[in-house]
């Protein structure tokens, strides 16, 4: 990398070999801390249960296999259902968030009105609340509305918590879309809605995809606390709580629990993989001369 720099590269981009080594070492340390729990979790899922508590502890599995990935379905027959619930809750929450946030972010990005800073500040303040602080009032609210033990109990509060950060994220993105595009469309006779639909929305797509991904992941992650509090029925149970089924009265089936965790995040990974195709950078290239 260091020596392959061509003459056209700026001097500031050139690194000496030891600088390159230092950069890679930094990346390695960072990745190690980030990935080590996942690596160990994956290795645990490959180990037979008997090996997990052997002394001394062995990091690498002996006679490792993917057996836990098949037996996990027998130990907790409802596991597939938990994945479906998680997927459903996150998808519906993401769709609702996008339906509300995309027009809202556009309005916050393009129109100025009295008290806008207050409203945006309010969103920020709300997003600083920990969900746990509001659990008891939310529980009372859900009970009053008759939503306990329904999907809505896990979707509605989730949406409320996900909206503020999504609005901030997408508003920032939309503010970068040149206002001249709105003016040009207005000059051409396009209505606000037509401009939004035909001009702004396609250009904002990468930003919308980022918001969709972060919202989906956020919705997946926050299910645990809402499901634990607002739901006691197996048929509505999402994955994070469903994983507790691997905690028996006497022991925990650790290898299957880890296997189930990896299988459980697969749908989210597939969704992200699918969506990231739309994360095309520089979509506004050529719109205006900056």
């Amino acid at each position: 990398m260091a020596r392959k720099n061509t003459d056209t590269r700026a001097m500031i981009d050139r690194y000496r070999w030891w600088e390159v080594m230092a950069i890679y070492a930094g990346i390695f340390v960072f990745l190690f801390f980030l990935l080590s729990p996942f690596i160990e979790g994956f290795l645990v899922s490959l180990k037979p249960l008997s090996q997990l508590f052997s002394s001394p502890y062995r990091f690498w599995p002996e006679n490792g296999s993917f057996k836990a990935y098949s037996t996990m379905w027998d130990s907790v027959p409802a596991f597939g259902w938990y994945i479906f619930n998680s997927f459903l809750i996150s998808t519906v929450a993401t769709i609702i968030v996008l339906l509300l946030v995309v027009p809202a972010a556009y309005a916050f990005a393009r129109f100025e009105y009295a008290g806008m800073a207050l409203v945006l500040g309010g969103f920020l303040a709300v997003s600083m609340f920990s969900g746990a602080v509001l659990l008891i009032p939310l529980f009372r609210l859900m009970r009053t509305l008759g939503l306990l033990n329904t999907y809505f109990a896990m979707i509605v509060p989730g949406v409320a918590f996900l909206i503020p950060s999504a609005i901030w994220l997408l508003r920032t993105y939309m503010m970068r879309i040149p206002v001249e595009l709105n003016e040009a469309a207005y000059m051409d006779g396009a209505s606000q809605f037509y401009t939004f639909r035909r001009v702004i929305l396609p250009i904002a797509m990468p930003g919308i995809v980022v918001v969709a991904i972060t919202t989906f992941i956020g919705a997946y992650a926050q299910q645990f606390i809402f499901a634990l509090t607002f739901n006691s029925k197996t048929e509505y149970m999402p994955l994070p709580v469903g994983l507790f089924a691997y905690f028996g009265k006497q022991d925990v089936i650790w290898n299957e629990l880890m296997a189930a965790s990896f299988v459980g995040i697969a749908p989210a990974l597939i969704i992200i993989f699918f969506l990231q195709r739309y994360l095309v950078g520089g979509l506004t290239a050529g719109a205006v001369k900056q």
């Binding site: 040149p178 003016e183 000059m187 250009i203 979509l283 205006v288």
Partner: protein, 372 residues
């Protein structure tokens, strides 16, 4: 069709008045250029005509109809933005077709009009490309194409060439002039580039601080600036202004003392001028080497050799501002070497203490008459 009148038009942003009562008549088919320094209100005035800015007071009249409260599309105008404002996700075809799609024109009409516009602008082979794949000049042509398909009576251009490099700008100037002749539409063009103004305009509107400083044909502004602002703004390098004192006047001439010399200038005198302080203006390109009607001994401290001309910056005794002179061709002038330069009395301009010009006795028609 395509006649525009501005009647005492005012624009304020909060307490700040940007456009201060501008009145102007633009004739059908005319190419009018607004020029002025940054913040003079030229772009704001254009945006008011476009309908992108609300008019605080006064009337904007297009073809006899007051349009203050009409949206742009109902004013019969189209605008080309400085930044192109192309839709990056659409092809060139779709960009140009956009206004037609908005008005739900039939597909065959859209195709015909877009292809006609593309032919005029030499974009025929680019119709399926996206703006990101085009050069700056091509992008600006797409923006113009989007304006053309609407067949507006008035085209508005907001510094359309300022993002292009010098060579491309010269090409586009010629293209726009050709387009104006071809379409015959009224065009209003904002720029801070006086070469664009001088070369393209039928009339130039010089704006200063929200007021019109002067309206006139390019050469009228050059030869007969009405005030020191226009005198300094039109022409590059800017006009030299030297302090002078009036010592005599008649209907067709004023005698002044300037730099220790007495000069009689062919400008219209008036009563009460004798004894007053004046400013004598001389354009750097009207200064020549050697002794002429007025001769000055100068010491240039910077000499710029441009090949086609030589520009000198000299200090005059008792003055902080540089005295500029432009000599044709390459001259063997050196820094800090004193030399005599001079200029003809007939080339001089004279301004009163308020900066208003005393009218030069110049026959513009004779100046611009065809040679031979």
């Amino acid at each position: 069709m395509g006649q525009l009148s501005l009647k005492s038009v005012i624009k304020t942003f909060g307490e700040f008045e940007v456009v201060k009562g501008v009145s102007l008549d633009v004739h059908e088919g005319e190419f009018v250029v607004f020029v002025g320094p940054s913040g003079c209100g030229k772009s704001t005035l254009l945006r008011m005509i476009a309908g992108l800015e609300h008019t605080t007071d006064g009337d904007i009249v297009i073809d006899g109809k007051r349009v203050n409260d009409l949206p742009p599309v109902k004013r019969g105008i189209a605008m080309v933005f400085q930044s192109y404002a192309l839709y990056p996700h659409m092809t060139v075809f779709e960009n140009i077709a956009f206004p037609l799609r908005v008005e739900k024109a039939p597909a065959d009409v859209i195709k015909k009009k877009v292809e006609a516009a593309a032919a005029i602008l030499h974009l025929d082979t680019r119709l399926q490309q996206k703006p990101g794949q085009l050069s700056g000049g091509q992008r600006q042509r797409v923006a113009i194409g989007r304006a053309i398909v609407r067949e507006p009576e008035i085209f508005l251009f907001d510094e359309p060439l300022s993002n292009l490099d010098a060579a491309l700008r010269a090409d586009m100037r010629i293209e726009l002039t050709r387009l104006h002749k071809q379409l015959g539409a009224t065009m209003i063009y904002v720029t801070h580039d006086q070469i664009e103004a001088m070369t393209m305009a039928d009339r130039i509107v010089v704006l200063n601080g929200g007021h019109i400083a002067q309206v006139g044909a390019p050469l009228e502004l050059y030869h007969k600036p009405q005030n020191t602002f226009v005198a300094g703004f039109i022409g590059n390098p800017r006009m030299n202004l030297l302090p002078a004192r009036c010592v005599g006047t008649s209907a067709a001439a004023v005698t002044v003392q300037c730099q220790g010399q007495t000069i009689t200038l062919p400008v219209a005198g008036r009563e009460g001028l004798v004894g007053s302080d004046l400013l004598l203006g001389i354009r750097p390109e009207h200064v020549a080497l050697g002794r002429v009607d007025v001769t000055l001994r100068v010491v240039p401290h910077v000499v710029e050799q441009l090949g086609q001309q030589t520009v000198g910056y000299a200090a005059l005794e008792g003055r902080e501002e540089n005295f500029l002179f432009v000599l044709p061709g390459t001259r063997g002038i050196q820094d800090d070497q004193p030399l005599d330069v001079g200029f003809r009395a007939g080339d001089c301009h004279l301004f009163d203490a308020e900066g208003n010009a005393l009218e030069r006795q110049v026959d513009l028609a004779a100046l611009t008459a065809p040679a031979g």
